[in-house]
């Protein structure tokens, strides 16, 4: 089975995310009325293949597979998918899978672009426990932010339906608005803690002489991201930011993260030694 690489495995996972996305459209059109497991199963199988792909790559590299953009993106998606599967087990949260699948599919297709995964030597450029901790926690933080954005999207949909008296608000088997709001806040808080740990770990990593940590574009971007999420958390928890604005901020922050993640990575000398 040597021809069946980890990329093939990931490709299959993305196909399943695609199938889940198509199925999600049907669920959406039906108003999320039936409590069923098809989407959860599709996404679960996708995450299983995704895990297999990452394990294969990790075993080949003998380290955590977070050494280039492809690997970083797949790790982010894996964290998002896994968190979604766990949260979807909560009562009335099964449809989280339907909202997460489109994100996994679109970003997954993007990650498959060959230029994001250049061949590297027998050993990756990065290695060591601290590097793995740095990359893994930051990417898990992005996964948590992603899931928070998904929950925020569900919140906005529920809010819109209730505000404008759409029957879907009552017919759909979605959680209450207050519960969605709480989950969004908790996910952002978890993501923020992980991001803080990841950034702190990054600062401890050895660097070439003349490479200051805080002038690297990726580090500046990450620090900005850290500030954006901190502001969202503080404004919501202590300054009375309305739930709708909080949800919009969380979605906008994650969309911004997805759109700028690769660009800042390309310009980072620390991440492209």
């Amino acid at each position: 089975m040597a021809w069946f690489t980890d990329r093939h495995c990931f490709m299959l996972a993305v196909l399943l995310y695609g199938a889940s996305t198509v199925y999600s459209v049907f669920l959406w059109r039906k108003g999320f009325r039936r409590d069923e497991w098809v989407n959860y199963f599709l996404l679960g199988t996708g995450v299983l293949l995704h895990t297999l792909a990452m394990t294969k790559r990790g075993l080949t590299l003998h380290s955590c597979p977070v050494n280039n953009l492809y690997e970083a993106t797949t790790f982010l998606l894996w964290a998002l998918g896994l968190a979604c599967l766990v949260y979807a087990l909560l009562p009335r949260f099964k449809f989280l899978a339907a909202f997460t699948a489109p994100v996994l599919f679109t970003v997954g297709v993007f990650a498959l672009m060959p230029s994001l995964d250049p061949p590297h030597g027998p050993k990756p450029e990065f290695s060591g426990a601290l590097r793995s901790l740095h990359a893994a926690t930051i990417l898990q933080a992005y996964g948590a932010f992603g899931l928070a954005a998904v929950a925020a999207g569900m919140f906005l949909m529920q809010r819109h339906d209730l505000k404008f008296h759409k029957l879907r608000a009552l017919l759909s088997l979605l959680p209450s608005m207050q519960r969605l709001e709480l989950i969004t806040f908790r996910l952002v808080a978890v993501g923020f803690v992980l991001l803080t740990i990841g950034l702190a770990a990054g600062q401890q990593l050895p660097r070439h002489a003349g490479q200051p940590y805080f002038s690297d574009p990726k580090v500046i971007w990450s620090a900005l991201l850290w500030l954006v999420y901190l502001e969202s958390l503080v404004a919501y928890k202590y300054l009375g930011r309305p739930s709708r604005r909080f949800a919009i901020c969380i979605i906008a922050s994650f969309v911004g993260l997805l759109l700028t993640f690769w660009i800042t990575n390309l310009f980072s000398a620390l991440h492209n030694p």
């Binding site: 529920q158 209730l162 008296h165 009552l170 209450s176 207050q178 709480l182 009375g240 309305p242 739930s243």
Partner: protein, 345 residues
Amino acid sequence: MSVVVIGLSHRTSPVGLRERFAFAEGGIPGALQQLRDSGLATEAAILSTCNRVELYVATPLAPDEAFAALRQFLVTHHAYEGALGEELYSLAEPHSLHHLFKVASGLDSMVIGETEIFGQLKKAYDLAFTHKFTGPRLNKAFQRAFNVSKQIRTETNIQRGSVSVMSAAVELAEKIFNSLADHEVLVIGAGETSEKTARAMLSRGARGVVVTNRSPERATALAAELGGRAVPFAQWPDEFEKIDIAVSSTAAPHHILDRAKLEPLMRRRQHRPLLLIDIAVPRDIDPAVSELDNVYLYNVDDLQSIANEYLSLRQEEVARCEQIIAEKVAALLAANSYLVPDGRG
């Protein structure tokens, strides 16, 4: 031996006629005894509710003969002297069993899919069973009816959703708030519908009720009844800081709550979500308040249209339910244990 049904329901007769033929619970064993003594029935059960009076009888007579005798029994028993036509329906197998299954599943109820009838039918059967008026036929038929009813409720959406204004309001609250246990309800105007809505909220776990009314006596009485507290009518806006659900049904000819009044209250509430149920006509709450963030306003028409939508969804499920019932009736009639329950046929 076959099972027949004779009776009248909300579909065929007005309430005035139904109440003439109603059986008091205490009188049912006596009536069943009369049926047995007359040789009309070997087994019998009487279902008497506000929407229907029905006799389920296992009889050795031919259906037509049994119908005439049962009709006479009803008229005599209730000393009814008026004319009776289509109001009284009579059904023989398999239609009688089909009807029993429909009744048990709430398909023949005034509000399709309601579950109260299941309990009433079970009670009627238990009464007949306890007094030994049922036998193999009716036992089998009723037990199968209860099973079919459960299957229909599990496999179809026949009982899904709120079909009354009060339950629609509760469902809305549960879509906004995680649990009603953390939220207090303010009742403005101690009318009957707001009282029922408050009771429905309490039954779903609402933390408490605050009642206000122009006449303080009525507010105090209702608050005591609901286990809540009463506040003077002039002070109800002060309660907005604490409550999250308000049900309004005053007789005021103008809006008692408008955007200008609610805006500062929402600031004091730190923009926590607020569900406003306005069941007054003319309306108590200015529709413009729904433009405020985190304010969810529903008036009586909104709630009624939710209830109607649910009803029409239930109607759509009827065909599926009918199919299940037809299959189960056919299976029951084909079963040896039903046809030859005690080896005598």
